[in-house]
């Protein structure tokens, strides 16, 4: 029974009945927060303030101050939810969070930070006054990135505006800087891809939005690898963005709208919903939290959908991926970059490595500081270009230090970010999705 209303956090006075707390126990009431935000209470109260999250937090490791650390943010969110601090005073430090969830991996006490930060952002967004520039920027992001067609058009437009980028507000400038000069040719995906050989399963593929515009080769590779392993692949026609990008910046309404569309677009007679982008996969797995407090029927639908979501590597590992026999294996060294939304959010670290190591002649290399974010983090490199740049350069340095021929990763955001920041290297890094290397094995 939650009865936290009765606790006071006042200094102990000798005359009053004392109440003490050793953890981050809070005055927050789940009832008051309502079902949509009730999940925030548990992570706050589970934190014991031990600080084990500090070294792997990308903002703490670059900025070095408590309010930019996970335990500091938890404290700030707690105080704000209790009404002791004003949301607008705290927002800058919450905004700085990349949502990489490295803190969840390093937390011995099991604090589910992800279940706090996303709802908190949505909670504070409700009353937040944003500047015009911010509004334009967020609008531009939410209305272009999730839509491949618009994204293409916007990219072309951005190319035109690149020369004036430095005269624009920082975030807009970053958007232009990061926008690709050229995009690959559009490659629409067929709706049905039959299994090759004996059919072992049937899955639906989330095509993704930005990824499909930036690197359509990834989904093509995934489809080839799946079908050659006896899996029938459906690419639902009416699918759209999964809403993860919106969810992670607190735009819960946009996120739910996107998700609802996909609930309808995806068929039921499938074993799994495959994601080839870590950010999308982790977002979709969180649908239960996103729809908490909604109509029970919709909530059930969301939970059902989320339970089917699986990352491509996780799935291939489960069905027992076998690369084709090859006579002359070419030796190759690959550094694996852990995407935060795969490693931290979905706790997937071993399956991509296992898959890569099954490739004959491949030597897997591990970069230093695997747990620290590359700075891409959804739209972070647009909203916080300075930190994102510092993190990007740090990541590239660690990857280059491995001396690997190729970098493999499981997320389009990381892929773009690392490629972008390695441009200044004498030998820019070649970054691919893990599934592309698997796909190559089937090439003649």
């Amino acid at each position: 029974m939650e009865n936290s209303e009765t606790y006071t956090l006042q200094p102990r006075a000798l005359t009053s009945e004392p109440e003490f707390f050793s953890r981050m126990i809070s005055q927050i009431s789940k009832e008051k927060l309502g079902p949509e935000f009730a999940s925030m209470k548990d992570p706050i109260e589970a934190c014991v303030h031990c600080g084990f999250c500090l070294p792997t937090c990308p903002t703490y490791s670059t900025m070095g101050d408590e309010m930019n650390s996970p335990r500091g943010r938890i404290f700030l969110m707690k105080e704000t939810l209790e009404g002791k601090l004003e949301p607008e005073d705290v927002d800058p430090y919450i905004d700085n969070c990349l949502g990489c969830l490295a803190c969840v991996t390093s937390c011995p006490s099991g604090v589910e930070y992800g279940e706090l930060i996303s709802p908190y952002r949505a909670w504070s967004e409700r009353t937040r006054e944003r500047s015009l520039t911010e509004k334009v920027q967020r609008f531009a992001m939410l209305k272009t990135i999730p839509y491949p067609d618009r994204f293409r058009k916007a990219s072309k437009l951005a190319t035109l505006f690149k020369p004036i980028g430095r005269f624009l507000p920082k975030g807009m400038g970053a958007m232009l800087e990061l926008a690709p000069h050229t995009l690959p040719t559009e490659q629409p995906l067929e709706e049905l891809h039959p299994a090759r050989g004996e059919r072992r399963g049937r899955v639906a593929l989330l095509a993704g939005c930005a990824q499909q515009a930036l690197a359509p080769r990834i989904n093509l590779a995934a489809i080839r690898v799946l079908t050659r392993n006896g899996i029938e692949v459906v690419v639902p026609k009416n699918q759209g963005c999964c809403g993860s990008l919106a969810m992670h910046i607190g735009a819960a309404h946009d996120a739910r709208k996107a998700a609802l569309n996909n609930f309808d677009a995806f068929p039921d007679d499938i074993d799994a919903i495959i994601s080839t982008a870590a950010g999308c996969g982790s977002g979709m797995k969180e649908y239960g939290t996103l729809f908490a407090g909604e109509d029970p029927e919709i909530l059930e639908q969301a939970q059902n959908y989320a339970s089917k979501v699986i990352d491509i590597c996780e799935y291939l590992d489960q069905i027992g991926f076998v690369p084709p026999e090859k006579e002359n294996a070419t030796p190759i060294t690959v550094a694996y970059h852990d995407a935060c939304h795969l490693a931290h959010a979905q706790k997937i670290r071993s399956s991509p490595r296992k898959l890569l190591q099954s490739i004959p002649g491949l030597t897997l290399l591990e970069p230093a500081e695997w747990e620290i974010c590359c700075g891409s983090a959804g739209s972070y490199n647009i909203e916080h270009p300075d930190t994102a740049k510092e993190l990007g350069q740090r990541k590239v340095k660690n990857l280059v230090a491995t001396g690997a021929d190729i970098v493999a990763t499981g997320n389009i955001g990381c892929l773009t970010q690392i490629e972008f920041h390695s441009k200044e290297q004498p030998k820019p890094l070649r970054v691919v999705h893990t599934v592309e290397l698997l796909d190559q094995q089937f090439e003649e």
Binding site: P11, L14, F21, A46, V48, G51, F52, D65, L85
Partner: protein
């Protein structure tokens, strides 16, 4: 105060001087969240000169200050002083010099403990002190509290690995203690400064000793049917004449928590686990391993396992080092104690603790440095019960007094901080404490450096009975 703040603004730009609630709030407590106190401001110096100027200013205005690293103290050692200043040393985080031939490194106080070993690794060297929070805690904090760790048994505490310190005294005078040698002339002032809990000013530069990385390790896990048997096994191993690098014990609750946190692969049916690690030259370690195995055979272990490779070894340690925080999974409210007992009385102490725990109706998890007799009972309680914390504190007090009765100490490595202040008179006479105070005042006439920690300062007397903390009574600190 406003004059003081105005002068701080002349030293620090606003992005390194926090005066607003949003930036101050995350600093109100450290690893001991039972207590919190709100400072007037937080500053983040980036050079020695700023530190020195800040101390001189504090001295002139009689403003108490606390130096802070990663804020992982379990005794409230880096808790702020109400209306005082927090000097955050996190930006002073450079390894200034690494000298492999002399096996030393000169570092700034904000360097993370493991950062030194990482930097020294390419020379085959490492920094031996390994508190469980070593991936987080700073060397400045280790120094102030003479941090221990699992390997103290053989290698000693932080103090044994600090050779020299450049110190800014609380009035701003900068002095040099020690040197860059293992030996010293005159009194061991470095030894006095280390573990002085921040009462003697701020270490600006620290000369640490590095050791060659052991060639080989052997780590074994032995499981027992009772905690007491495991405790007695420690005495057997110690008496056998082998000197392990580390000897640790975890009880069933701690095993459960650590297993949930990191899946360390510990046996799940054990009432207690004894972890023993040997290190050194391969040939020597193998010979010791044989002797250790035969010693363990006589202790009635249910199962004995040896780590098969470095990964298994690291996993065993990861579980052990996560245990404190992992206990948060069993009960988010707990107090960690740090008493020491003579090693031959471990079994007796553990039995007494379990009896006290049963009497109090509170669960106690045990995970500790058995080789040193350094207990870490984690008293689990429910803060939502009106007398939850009081009951837990009463039990903690009984355990500490038990340690003293058995001839031990109230703290092995976490320090006195604010948390054990009231037990100091149980361990030291008035004459002893007065000598401590005289030493303190010779260094810090105004008693501004980390006021209210280790020694009851001029603002509040220590109480020897249970009840509200003296600072709490004075309204200086409050609980979360």
């Amino acid at each position: 105060m406003s004059d003081f703040i105005a002068q701080l603004r002349e030293i620090y730009p606003s992005e390194r001087l926090y005066e607003d609630d949003a930036r101050i709030t995350p600093y109100v407590s450290d690893g001991l969240t039972v207590f919190r106190a709100k400072p007037a401001a937080v500053v983040m110096p980036v050079c020695n000169d700023e530190v020195v100027k800040t101390l001189a200013l504090c001295h002139a205005h009689d403003i108490p200050f606390v130096a802070r690293g990663s804020g992982t103290s379990l005794s409230g050692g880096s808790m702020p002083i109400e209306e005082g200043l927090v000097i955050s040393l996190n930006q002073l985080n450079q390894i200034l010099e690494l000298d492999p031939d002399n096996r030393t490194a000169r570092v700034q106080p904000g360097v993370i403990n493991t950062g030194i070993s990482v930097a020294a690794a390419s020379h085959g060297l490492y920094f031996a002190p390994d508190p469980s929070s070593q991936t987080v805690c700073t060397i400045g904090g280790n120094l102030a509290f003479n941090s221990g760790g699992a390997h103290c048994l053989k290698y000693g505490m932080t103090s044994n690995h600090i050779l020299g310190i450049k110190v800014a005294l609380p009035d701003g005078e900068v002095v040099e203690l020690g040197n860059d040698s293992l030996e010293n002339t005159g009194p061991d002032c470095v030894g006095l400064f280390v573990g002085s809990e921040g009462l003697m000013g701020i270490a600006l530069e620290i000369q640490v000793r590095l050791l060659p990385k052991p060639e080989s390790y052997r780590t074994i896990l032995a499981s027992y049917d009772s905690l007491e048997t495991a405790g007695d096994a420690v005495a057997t191993v110690v008496a056998s004449g082998i000197l392990p690098g580390a000897m640790e014990i975890m009880d069933a609750l701690a095993i459960e928590a650590a297993e949930a946190a990191v899946s360390a692969g510990y046996p799940d049916d054990a009432a207690a686990l004894l972890l023993v690690e040997l290190d050194g030259e391969a040939a020597a370690v193998e010979a010791e391993f044989a002797a250790l195995t035969s010693a363990i055979e006589t202790t009635g272990a249910k199962e004995v396992r040896a780590a098969q490779d470095e990964n298994e070894r690291m996993l065993i340690w990861k579980g052990r080092k996560s245990a404190f925080s992992a206990v948060g999974r069993l009960s988010p409210d707990y107090i960690v104690q740090d008493g020491v007992v003579p090693r031959s009385k471990l079994g007796e102490a553990l039995k007494a603790i379990s009896e006290l725990s049963a009497d109090a109706g509170l669960r106690v998890a045990n995970v500790f440095h058995a080789g040193d007799g350094n207990l870490h009972p984690l008293i689990l309680f429910d803060a939502k019960q009106p007398d939850g914390l009081e009951k837990a504190e009463a039990l903690a007090g009984k355990i500490l007094r038990l340690c003293l009765r058995l001839g031990g100490s109230i703290t092995g490595e976490h320090g006195v901080g604010v948390e054990k202040l009231k037990y100091m008179p149980d361990m030291f006479s008035d004459t002893d404490l007065e000598a401590f105070r005289r030493i303190r005042r010779s260094i810090d006439t105004k008693e501004i450096s980390n006021r209210g920690k280790m020694l009851p300062g001029k603002e509040a007397p220590a109480l020897s009975d249970l009840g509200p903390h003296p600072l709490e009574k004075a309204g200086i600190i409050s609980r979360m």
